[in-house]
C-alpha cells in the first residue's frame, strides 16, 4: 500500500506534529493567543499556524511584547507580516516600566528583562484573559528545557510548578484548566535549530533581514558586540562604533543581542556557518549567562 507514496521526511513529521498540537489545543481553548517574538522560531510557528487552519485564518491573534528596545527592523517586519497574513496583532509594553525609564543600559539586563519582558507578558495575559498562549521555545535550546512539556501549566499567578506538570501520552493533550489558570503551549518542542533553518529554506519562509550578514555599526558592550540601532546607546559608547559585516543568530532587545562577525548572506551560508562554527545559539544571549540555572529560575517566574 505504501509503495506509491513518498516516505515522510523528518521535516514532514515535525510539521504534522506541530499542526496537530495547534489544532488540538485551539479546539478546546476559550481565548488562545500566539506569542509572536518576530524571530525565526516565531516565523516558523506562524507559518505552521497558517497551514494548520487553511483555508481559514488561525483563530487567534498575535501578541508581541514590545520591550521598546527591539531592533527597528524587527518592528517593521512584524507590522508587515501582520498586514500580509491579515491576523490581528496586539502589541503590549509595560507602561510603568516606560514611565520609570527602565532600560538595559541604565538598569542592567536582568532588571530590564524582568520588568519589560516578564512583567509585561503577565500584564498582557491578564489584560486579555488569554487561557492558551503558544510560544516558540524548543527543547534543544537549553539543558533545562529537555524536560519541558508541550503543554506547560501555569497557576493564576503565572507561576510554573515543576512538580505539578502532567504526563503527555501519545498525542493526547489534557488541556483542562480551572478559571484563571493558563497553559503555555510549545508546538516546536521537538524541533532543533537545524530543523528550523532547513524548514525555513524548504518552505521559503520570510525572516527578519538581521539574520543575514550586512555592514552594520557595532560597539563592544559587556563583552559582546552589539549593534547601534538608535541613539539610546550611550554617547561614549556610540563614539566607538565601527562598521562590520555582522549578523544575528537570535533576535531580542538590541543591546542584549550579540552580533557575530560573518559574511553569510544566504540561507545556505547561514546553515553552513551554524554547522561549522559549533557554538550554541543561546550563547549570544546576555540573559543566560547571568547565573547558572538562570533559565530555570526565569521560567518559574513566568519568562518563557
Amino acid at each position: 500500500m505504501g509503495g506509491t507514496l513518498k516516505n515522510l521526511t523528518h521535516l514532514d513529521r515535525l510539521e504534522a506534529e506541530s499542526m496537530h498540537i495547534m489544532r488540538e489545543v485551539v479546539a478546546d481553548a476559550e481565548r488562545p493567543v500566539m506569542l509572536y517574538s518576530v524571530g525565526k522560531d516565531s516565523a516558523v510557528m506562524l507559518h505552521l499556524a497558517m497551514k494548520a487552519f487553511y483555508p481559514s485564518k488561525p483563530p487567534f491573534p498575535l501578541l508581541h511584547v514590545d520591550t521598546t528596545w527591539k531592533f527597528k527592523e524587527m518592528i517593521e517586519f512584524r507590522d508587515r507580516r501582520a498586514t500580509e497574513t491579515g491576523l490581528e496583532l496586539l502589541v503590549h509594553s509595560n507602561q510603568e516600566g516606560i514611565d520609570a525609564g527602565i532600560g538595559p543600559f541604565t538598569h542592567g539586563s536582568a532588571l530590564h528583562t524582568d520588568v519589560m519582558k516578564t512583567a509585561a507578558l503577565k500584564q498582557a495575559l491578564d489584560k486579555y484573559k488569554f487561557d492558551i498562549a503558544f510560544g516558540g521555545a524548543r527543547r534543544d535550546e537549553e539543558k533545562s528545557r529537555a524536560k519541558e512539556r508541550i503543554c506547560s501549566f501555569r497557576t493564576a499567578e503565572h507561576r510554573w510548578d515543576p512538580k505539578n506538570q502532567r504526563p503527555e501520552l501519545w498525542n493526547l493533550y489534557n488541556t483542562r484548566i480551572r478559571q484563571g489558570e493558563s497553559i503555555r503551549v510549545f508546538p516546536l518542542s521537538n524541533w532543533t535549530e537545524l530543523d528550523i533553518w532547513q524548514y525555513i529554506r524548504r518552505e521559503n519562509i520570510d525572516i527578519v533581514p538581521l539574520y543575514y550578514s550586512a555592514k552594520r555599526p557595532v560597539v563592544e558592550w559587556e563583552g559582546t558586540q552589539i549593534m547601534v540601532d538608535d541613539d539610546r546607546v550611550p554617547e561614549e559608547l556610540r563614539k566607538t562604533a565601527v562598521e562590520k559585516s555582522v549578523r544575528f543568530r537570535t533576535l531580542g532587545c538590541y543591546p542584549l543581542t550579540g552580533a557575530v562577525e560573518s559574511e553569510a548572506d544566504t540561507l545556505e551560508e547561514i546553515i553552513q556557518e551554524m554547522l561549522l562554527t559549533k557554538s550554541s545559539e543561546r550563547q549570544g544571549r546576555v540573559i543566560d549567562r547571568d547565573q547558572s540555572g538562570s533559565m530555570e529560575k526565569k521560567k518559574q517566574e513566568g519568562y518563557f
Binding site: M1, G2, T4, L5, N7, L8, T9, H10, L11, D12, R13, L14, A16, E17, H20, R23, V26, A27, M50, K51, A52, F53, Y54, P55, S56, R139, K143, S144, A146, K147, P162, K163, P167, L169, W170, N171, L172, N174, R176, R178, S189, N190, T192, L194, D195, R201, R202, E268, E269, I271, Q272, L275, L276, K278, S279, S280, Q283, S292, G293, E296
Partner: protein
C-alpha cells in the same frame, strides 16, 4: 562523519538536499544510571556532532572537576549531572534529546529506570517506535530489565534493542553475551507476539559497536547500534492498517468550504475513497484532501490533513473518519489495561474523564479484574490500583465511542483518564476489546413516570444529602426534618449510613475503595426513590467531594440539595455520642474520618447548618423554609 563534514564545507546545497530527505525515528532508552545509559546517550550525541563548542568546553571542565573518568571526557555529564534539578526534585521525568546522522533524525525519550518511575517510562514509550534496553554485562537480565520490556511491549513497541553494555569489563567474552541474549529471549516469549529483538554487545565507555562495528567482538556478526538505528524500518504497520482520521477541528471559513482536520494515525486515503464517519455510521466520498495549504491526491499515516466530503454528513470534533471497507468498532463498555499514574488510587465506581483521540467522555471503572506484577508477568488479585501499578479493568462510558483495539492501532485504542476535580492526568489505558453486555440492557419505558409519581404526592422529588463528620448531628437533623415533613403530609424516606451498612452494604468496609462503592450504591438507591417521587433524605458522612458530585450527577439539575452539617472536629469529638472517636484515637478503629482519613468539606453546599448555633429542630425548620421558597413542597 568526515564525509559529511567535507560535503558541508564544499557543497552546502548538496548537503542540505541530503539532509532534507532524512526520516525520523523516535526511541526510548531504559536502564538506570549504573547501566551506562547516560554515557551511551552522551556518546551518541557526541559522535553525531550535536554538541557545540561552548557545551564541549563546559563538558571538559566538568569532566575534570566532577567526572568519574579521570582526565577523559565523562559523557554521562552531558545528559545528567544537573544537580540543581535533582535538588528541586524534578529528575523524575522524561527528558527529550535530539541528534541526527546522514540518514535519520532521532528523538530520544530518556527516562530514569527505577521502579517508581514506571509512569515516566510509559510516557516516553507511548510515542516511541523502538526501545533500547540497557543491560550491564556483569549483571545480566534483571527484574528491572523485565519490567522495562513489559512496559515497552504493552505500549505497542515491537522493536527492542538489547544493549549489552560494559562488555569491556567482561573481556568481550562471547559466552557472556550469548547467555544474556538467550536468557532474555526466553523471557520475551511470554510478552506480546511479533517482537523483534536485536542484541548488540557494546561498551558505551569505550565506544565499542556504537557507531561502527568493532574488531573487539569478531564473533559478533550483527550491526553496530547506529547502523541498526539508521536502517531499521519504521511505520510499515501503520501504513498497512486501515485508514482512520480522528476529527480534531471542523474548518468552515465560509459556506463553500467544510473540511475536517486531523492527523492520520493509520492507513492512507485518496480522493474518491469511500469513508464512513463514526459513530453516526454515515457513508460518503472524499472529494478533496488538503495537506496544509496544498491540494493533494492522497495522504498517509503521520500527516496532518483536512478532508472534504461529497455529502453533507454530520461530523464534528471527536468523530472518527474511517475507510468504509473496514471501519472501527463502536461500543460503550470495554476491557482495558490501565497504568495508574497518580498518587491517589484508582477506585472502581469513581467517575473520570476519558480522552481518546479527540473525544472526551465520562468513564467509570467497573471492576479491576487483576493486577499484573511486572517482574514475573503474573496476575495478582486487586480491587484498586496504586501509583505505577498496571491492571486489567472493565470500564463503562456515558456514551458509545468509536475505537480500535490498541494492539491494532495505537492512537484509536489508547486513552488517558483525567481527574474531574483537579484536572490532572491520572492514568493511561489501552483498549483490549469491547464488552457486549451493554447492548442487552434496555431501560424500560413506563407510562407511570417520575412526573406522575410526584404529581400524585404534590411535591418535587428531591435528594437532601446530609454530609458532615461522624457525630456532627446529620441523622438527628434528618430525623427531625422527616418528622416535620410527615406532619405536613409529604412523602419521604430516610437512608441512614449506619442502617444501610447493616443491610445493602454490609459487605463493605472502610477503605477508600469501599467508601466509594458505599456511596455509589446509596446514590443509585436514592435515584430510584427520586424516580418514585419521594423526598429522599440521605445521611452519610460521604467524606469525598467527587462521590458527592457523582451522587449529584445521577439525578436531574435541581433535584440534589447538599446539606452541610458543619460541626468542628473538636466539638464532634467532645460529643462522641457513640464513643467512636475515643476508639479511633486509641487505634481500635482504622480509617476513621477526621482522625486518620480525610474529610473534604463542600465548597458550595445549597444549605449549611452550623450546629454550634442552632438546634436540630431549628435546623429542620430552616430546611423546610428553604424548600418552600423554591416551590418544592407543592
Amino acid at each position: 562523519m568526515s564525509d559529511q563534514n567535507s560535503l558541508l564545507e564544499t557543497d552546502i546545497r548538496g548537503y542540505l538536499e541530503a539532509h532534507e530527505n532524512k526520516s525520523l525515528l523516535r526511541f526510548i532508552t531504559c536502564g538506570s544510571v549504573d547501566d551506562g545509559k547516560s554515557t551511551l546517550i552522551g556518546r551518541m550525541l557526541y559522535d553525531s556532532k550535536m554538541i557545540f563548542e561552548d557545551q564541549l568546553d563546559a563538558l571538559e571542565s566538568d569532566s575534570k572537576r566532577v567526572g568519574t573518568q579521570g582526565e577523559n571526557i565523562d559523557f554521562a555529564l552531558l545528559v545528567d549531572g544537573l544537580t540543581a534539578e535533582r535538588e528541586q526534585g524534578i529528575t523524575i521525568d522524561v527528558a527529550y534529546r535530539f541528534f541526527s546522522t546522514d540518514k535519520r533524525k532521532f528523538i530520544v525519550a530518556d527516562t530514569p529506570g527505577h521502579v517508581q518511575y514506571t509512569r515516566n517510562m510509559a510516557t516516553g514509550a507511548s510515542t516511541a517506535d523502538l526501545a533500547i534496553l540497557l543491560i550491564d554485562a556483569r549483571r545480566g537480565v534483571l527484574e528491572q530489565t523485565r519490567r522495562h520490556a513489559f512496559i515497552a511491549s504493552s505500549l505497542g513497541i515491537r522493536k527492542l534493542v538489547l544493549a549489552i553494555n560494559k562488555m569491556d569489563l567482561q573481556n568481550y567474552e562471547q559466552s557472556v553475551f550469548d547467555d544474556i541474549e538467550s536468557d532474555f529471549i526466553e523471557f520475551a516469549e511470554e510478552l506480546a507476539t511479533g517482537i523483534e529483538i536485536q542484541a548488540i554487545p557494546m561498551s558505551a565507555l569505550e565506544g565499542t559497536n556504537i557507531t561502527t562495528k568493532s574488531d573487539k567482538t569478531p564473533w559478533y556478526d550483527g550491526p553496530s547500534l547506529m547502523e541498526y538505528l539508521e536502517t531499521v524500518p519504521v511505520d510499515d504497520d501503520r501504513l498497512n492498517a486501515p485508514f482512520r482520521l480522528p476529527v480534531q477541528y471542523v474548518n468552515r471559513p465560509n459556506l463553500d468550504f467544510r473540511g475536517f482536520s486531523g492527523q492520520i494515525p493509520s492507513g492512507t486515503v485518496k480522493v474518491g475513497d469511500r469513508v464512513k464517519t463514526l459513530p453516526s455510521a454515515k457513508e460518503t466520498t472524499v472529494t478533496r484532501i488538503l495537506s496544509g495549504d496544498e491540494d493533494v491526491q492522497e495522504a498517509m499515516a503521520g500527516e496532518s490533513v483536512t478532508v472534504c466530503f461529497a455529502d453533507e454528513v454530520d461530523t464534528s470534533r471527536g468523530d472518527l473518519i474511517c475507510t468504509a471497507e473496514s471501519p472501527a468498532q463502536v461500543a460503550d463498555q470495554f476491557q482495558a489495561r490501565i497504568f495508574w499514574m497518580a498518587d491517589d488510587k484508582m477506585l472502581p465506581g469513581r467517575r473520570y474523564l476519558m480522552k481518546i483521540g479527540s473525544k472526551t467522555v465520562t468513564a467509570q471503572v467497573n471492576e479491576t479484574k487483576y493486577r499484573i506484577e511486572m517482574s514475573d508477568l503474573q496476575d495478582r488479585p486487586a480491587r484498586d490500583l496504586s501509583l505505577n501499578e498496571v491492571g486489567v479493568c472493565t470500564l463503562s462510558l456515558d456514551q458509545a465511542i468509536p475505537f480500535d483495539p490498541y494492539n491494532e492501532i495505537r492512537e484509536t485504542g489508547g486513552f488517558i483518564l483525567i481527574d474531574r476535580l483537579n484536572n490532572n492526568t491520572v492514568g493511561m489505558g489501552m483498549i483490549d476489546f469491547a464488552l457486549r453486555r451493554a447492548g442487552n440492557i434496555h431501560w424500560q419505558s413506563v407510562d407511570v413516570n417520575k412526573e406522575a409519581h410526584s404529581a400524585q404526592k404534590n411535591q418535587k422529588p428531591t435528594v437532601l444529602w446530609f454530609t458532615g463528620l461522624s457525630g456532627s448531628g446529620k441523622s438527628t437533623i434528618a430525623n427531625a426534618l422527616q418528622k416535620r415533613l410527615y406532619s405536613i403530609d409529604r412523602h419521604t424516606y430516610l437512608l441512614d449510613g449506619d442502617n444501610v451498612r447493616h443491610g445493602l452494604n454490609r459487605d463493605l468496609g472502610f477503605t477508600d475503595a469501599d467508601r466509594v462503592e458505599n456511596i455509589r450504591r446509596v446514590s443509585e438507591v436514592s435515584k430510584l426513590m427520586v424516580d418514585a417521587g419521594l423526598i429522599t433524605l440521605v445521611s452519610f458522612i460521604s467524606p469525598f467531594r467527587s462521590e458527592r458530585r457523582m451522587a449529584r450527577n445521577m439525578v436531574e439539575d435541581g433535584e440534589f440539595v447538599e446539606v452541610f452539617v458543619n460541626t468542628p472536629l473538636n466539638v464532634a469529638e467532645q460529643r462522641d455520642v457513640k464513643g467512636l472517636y475515643k476508639r479511633a484515637r486509641e487505634g481500635k478503629i482504622k480509617n476513621f474520618t477526621g482522625i486518620d482519613s480525610p474529610y473534604e468539606p463542600p465548597t458550595e453546599p445549597e444549605i449549611e447548618i452550623d450546629t454550634t448555633k442552632v438546634s436540630a429542630d431549628e435546623a429542620a425548620e430552616i430546611i423546610v423554609d428553604w424548600m418552600k421558597e423554591r416551590g418544592m413542597l407543592g
